[in-house]
Symmetry: none
Subunit: 213 residues, 4 copies
């Protein structure tokens, strides 16, 4: 992957441009031409480097989520014997950041959301690779919190409540759709942290209520 004249690594420039445009407009609304323009490359560049628009899309996915996994791991770096509460907070922290990050990770969140609503064939597998470990991890934590007597349905419902609170945050990018606190401009790191605390608190209480029902 030698780099030419101006010291620019076209491959990665294209990848980055593609992430942006795909996140903004979705797969179908995105034209190869626009990606190439943004990467200051020729129209043929995408096919040269990735083979096709499809494959570029897949490459974007791969990059985006591998990065997300690295930057915001689900366990948040906690030791395995941490308490269920702590581990739950870590998961929430990971998800909230993934969807509210204003940089590349946030783009990934947008694309994820879009895919969940659309379901492009090619990404089914990747999507599954992302969702499954999340569900396993969250399911495990919730089981611990609910105790041994919890029904399968109770676990599933709590999983939903927790995960949905987080992933729907991605919608904030569409103006006017969320309450003012979240709907406007850039979020401060502080607000995000408070939101993590909120969801953790809110959910722990919800889970406890289900347990004691």
């Amino acid at each position: 992957m030698a780099i030419r004249k101006d010291g620019v690594d076209r491959y990665n420039v294209l990848l980055k441009a593609a992430l942006e445009v795909f996140a903004e407009k979705g797969y179908r609304n995105t034209t190869v031409a626009e990606i190439c323009n943004r990467a200051k490359s020729n129209v043929a560049a995408v096919n040269y480097h990735f083979g096709s628009k499809d494959k570029l899309y897949l490459a974007v996915w791969k990059m985006a989520f591998e990065e997300a996994l690295k930057v915001y791991p689900l366990n948040g770096g906690l030791p395995d014997d941490s308490s269920a509460e702590q581990r739950l907070r870590a998961v929430v922290y990971s998800l909230v950041h993934r969807f509210l990050d204003d940089g590349r990770l946030g783009r990934a969140g947008q694309i994820l959301l879009r895919e969940m609503a659309e379901s492009t064939e090619a990404v089914q597998q990747i999507l599954s690779d992302i969702i499954s470990p999340l569900q396993r991890k969250v399911g495990q934590i919730i089981k611990e919190l609910l105790g041994e007597n919890a029904s399968q349905q109770q676990v599933a419902f709590c999983q939903l409540s927790l995960i949905n609170q987080c992933i729907a945050l991605g919608f904030r990018r569409s103006k006017g759709k969320l309450p003012p606190v979240l709907g406007e401009g850039k979020l401060t790191a502080e607000t995000i942290d408070e939101l993590v605390e909120h969801i953790t608190l809110f959910s722990l209480a919800g889970i406890a209520a289900v347990r004691n029902k």
Copy 2:
């Protein structure tokens, strides 16, 4: 909206076909031709009756959400002086059904989700018309439950927690992305009712926890 001699109301047949296809595939992935095929009409029918694909899309929105509003009103037919708990349950009932209904209303939910992820310019206004009253109503209920001392941020966060739990349910249509209980096949009315109860219980407990923090 004239009705032809053969008793077929082309206008509404097209509208219904369009709702289905738009919900399944999204705006960009939908072709005018497919809508017309499904409506057993000519390719020119859409432009003849609606002027353009765009305008048809808008018409679909209008129809879909007016209907949703009628079938599952936010207040669930409760008297205005009902308790905050009851009114919260009614909102949850309304939202959950809107997104899990397997018929036309569910389609509307799908389209809504997609729009929240995509944000087609033309629908910004309509989207706002739907979300705003919801936020007002939920905000009001939550303020009551949190009490007078609640901060604006606390209200906003609880709004988020509640609404997000419901709207992200729409993702269940994409297979393999939700826990088994919700992820497979048709949901029974009973399961849906239990889910409404769960979200209500879960959220009331969450709100209470925020209040007592």
Copy 3:
């Protein structure tokens, strides 16, 4: 297949234009644009009427060879109990005309030749449908002429000698590749008739020689 304004049947105009261009340039060298230009239609016309360049090509084949079959049938309208010599002359007549016809049939011959040299996947079947009956018919005649003692190889070799004499005539269109008598300009009907006589005479003598070997 209603016909529009200027009373032109676009479908058939396209088909005819395509026959010409395909015959002149071959499949790959032919652009959809050129066909449409020649048919005074839009670039999209081919796809509208035929679905794709491929399908148009197939349609051209179908048309061309059905016509050839009709205009120059292999048996030349002879009664079934005609002598082998007469039937052989009829076959030669049919083949020679198919390849030397200056009109549409000749085009078909060109395309056939090209396909025999190139073998586009899609036409394998059609090609077989054309060649097989020819081989059967010629084989039958030759068997009769060779008598019962002829080996399978003798029959096959004579088939080759006869058929090859005819089909390679199609090459005459490439200037400078054939002897003067055939290589220049338009052939008179008289010359063609003489050629038919020649090939018949030549081949009957050849077959007789093989028989008496």
Copy 4:
């Protein structure tokens, strides 16, 4: 035509690869990339060594037919005063082998056939250089066999009959288009020799018949 240190003569490797691919797919269907792949060279190699795809094609022609001329000369090494029959057999031997050879020479035959059907401008001259001496030689032999009284047309027709029998053999590569004996798999040297005998016998008889008409 420099040879690199690793002992690989890129120029000729490319030439050989090109011969194969051009023969298999024809000029237009062949991509420079495929040739370079097969020659385990870079995409730029063709342009570097030959200047352009066109020029490579010409070079292939040159090489192919010079070789054919050397391996299967038209006179088959006969002394000039051999009998007309013997010289005719030699010509047939040469042509049949050129078109049925399974190695590089056969490739040349395929390309020739294709060109006769297609007539790429650039090769007109080369084609003529190949065909002309053949026609002269065959014409001369036939004149001798027909005797002094033969008309120009008779000579031309017999030339056609003879040459066409041979060159159309090249079509055998397209499966299913020729009788079983020739149509399947590799031909044995013995079969080819028998075929040479057949065509010679068949044609001598044909020519005799024309003479005695």
